[in-house]
Symmetry: C2
Subunit: 332 residues, 2 copies
């Protein structure tokens, strides 16, 4: 590949600006007091579709030529990327085919359908989704938009850091969640491209530490049965994200499931905003001192806010929860 | 009483401005689409202590003479007013005595203690709290700050509408939750004082409809065993709030428990912000068409964001919830 650079991120930003929200940067005096630093939160939980994924998907869809676009786009995902691609495609007036496992949670199916996505179900087996998507590409000539390894997705995600640094100015470090690596790669491209002296750190669940291990091993080690509540971070690196992260990212740190939940609870209670578990991963890294931030300006990307609260709200009316909250499917 | 007016609200605003947050006004395209109107949300869930109550408590505390202040303040509440008064008193460097029932939830006790409040426990009986607070007033000469009927509390709460109208401009209607009536009274004072053609509507749970019944009866009918999840709205009107609401408020509408929960869930899912059940009551009134708002500019005050999520987060780690969520004590 030819590695994208800051110019590509800036072009992506110009391309997607009419469709995305410029999300706010929030602070919390009480969290600052807890961590002994100045924490700034870039709130992609307020992004359309409820996650930064809408940036990359929009950039991918609007980067296509008219001829390509008319054949549609396809992806395999049951998470935020699926909904994001569906809405991006609708905004361009083209079709989006989304391959999902037949046992995907109904709330995720409804989200994709709500944005006009055209769902193809496949068997709930490891490779079935990729195979089904490849088959659609062959049969229809549509363009596969990978959730994290696609270069136009990566540069689209890089626009988060671009806005963040424009707004927040003098950051010492930026932390992002790390799953497939699209957000972290885009962030690193932007920060390094700006020549900014900002440390870039990826934050990964201990229970899905494939990127941490891959970078240390010098080759991609796929995620094996990742068992984390951070459902957006169960996927593995691809060749593009692996190489960008290897070359441009300063560090990868790991947090436990208990730390993720405690961080998520802290955000809810102190900031009164809804974030999904993946967003809590870099917050946990700071709260539980996986990285030294004392007296620093710490930028944290809150990646999304899609949480299934149905059982919580049923419980409020006195209906006993039918089961403990399900650990959702991979976020693709 | 001599009824307070807009000048008092403006003075309150000048008095409390150094201590409060000027909270944002947010909108949601998807909620606008759902209700066929332009809904604007004044987000007091982002206020200090997580609720508008901090405005009234701060105004009450900073309205005292030095001599009065040195004898401290006292209130009976286990909810947001208790925490708000504790922090307001700490900001002035005086003592706050909070009377709470001996069976108050530990999370609420911890909140008050966290702000430096001095808790006196009383028996969990209907009149025990008022009696205990009166006794403290007699013994110490401290000032009782009633959660809703105190005039300086009412004018403090009126500052929400003052900021809201400054920011949002052309509102057709303002809806507030209605419990003890402090927020609704303050809102009505501000709107009528500005001479604005804005309809003022109080929104009350059907299961705690004492204000609705009181206004129709022409006298205060106390709340009897209010059984609502909107824990901030279980209290009854006082003489001041009754008379202001009777004279200056356009309408009171009622919503069911199911409607409150559905509205709360809508706010979480669509706006990605945390609101407590009381805040969802006016949202429910709009979503479930208790008032016609088609094509109007609808101002909704989201009163607070203090929700006990401990069981939800425990459940995320696979710990079964020990019981269905408790219906909390009155919010005073």
């Amino acid at each position: 590949m030819e590695r994208p650079n800051l110019r590509d991120v800036r072009e992506a930003h110009d391309r997607i600006r009419p469709y995305i929200h410029r999300t706010p940067v929030l602070t919390s005096a009480s969290i600052n007091a807890m961590v002994g630093a100045r924490a700034l939160f870039k709130c992609e939980n307020f992004q359309k579709v409820g996650a930064f994924k809408f940036r990359g998907a929009t950039n991918a869809v609007f980067s296509l030529s008219d001829e390509e676009a008319n054949r549609g786009v396809v992806t395999h995902s049951s998470g935020n990327h699926a909904a994001a691609l569906a809405l991006a495609a609708r905004n361009r007036g083209i079709s989006a085919r989304i391959v999902m496992p037949s046992n995907a949670p109904s709330v995720k199916i409804a989200a994709v359908e709500g944005y006009g996505g055209n769902i193809t179900f496949c068997e709930p087996k490891p490779l079935a989704r990729e195979e089904a998507a490849d088959l659609i590409v062959k049969e229809t000539g549509s363009t596969l938009v990978h959730p994290s390894n696609d270069l136009s997705v990566i540069t689209g995600q890089g626009t988060v850091a671009l806005e963040f640094i424009e707004t927040a100015g003098d950051l010492d470090v930026i932390l992002t969640p790390l799953g497939g690596g699209g957000l972290l790669s885009g962030t690193a491209l932007t920060v390094r491209g700006l020549g900014a002296k900002i440390k870039v750190v990826g934050c990964e669940p201990k229970n899905a530490d494939d990127a941490y291990r891959s970078i240390r091993a010098g080759r991609i080690l796929p995620s094996v049965n990742p068992d984390t509540i951070a459902d957006g971070l169960r996927t593995s690196l691809g060749d593009n994200t692996f190489s960008i992260i290897r070359d441009l990212v300063d560090d990868i740190v790991l947090v436990s499931e208990e730390e993720i939940v405690a961080a998520m609870q802290t955000i809810f209670q102190r900031m009164k905003i809804v974030v999904e578990p993946s967003s809590a991963v870099p917050v946990a890294a700071v709260l539980f001192e996986k990285i030294r931030v004392t007296d620093k300006n710490v930028g944290i990307i809150l990646s999304g806010g899609n949480v299934d609260f149905s059982q919580f709200f049923q419980g409020m009316l006195g209906n006993p929860p039918p089961q403990t909250p399900r650990k959702n499917d991979s976020n693709g």
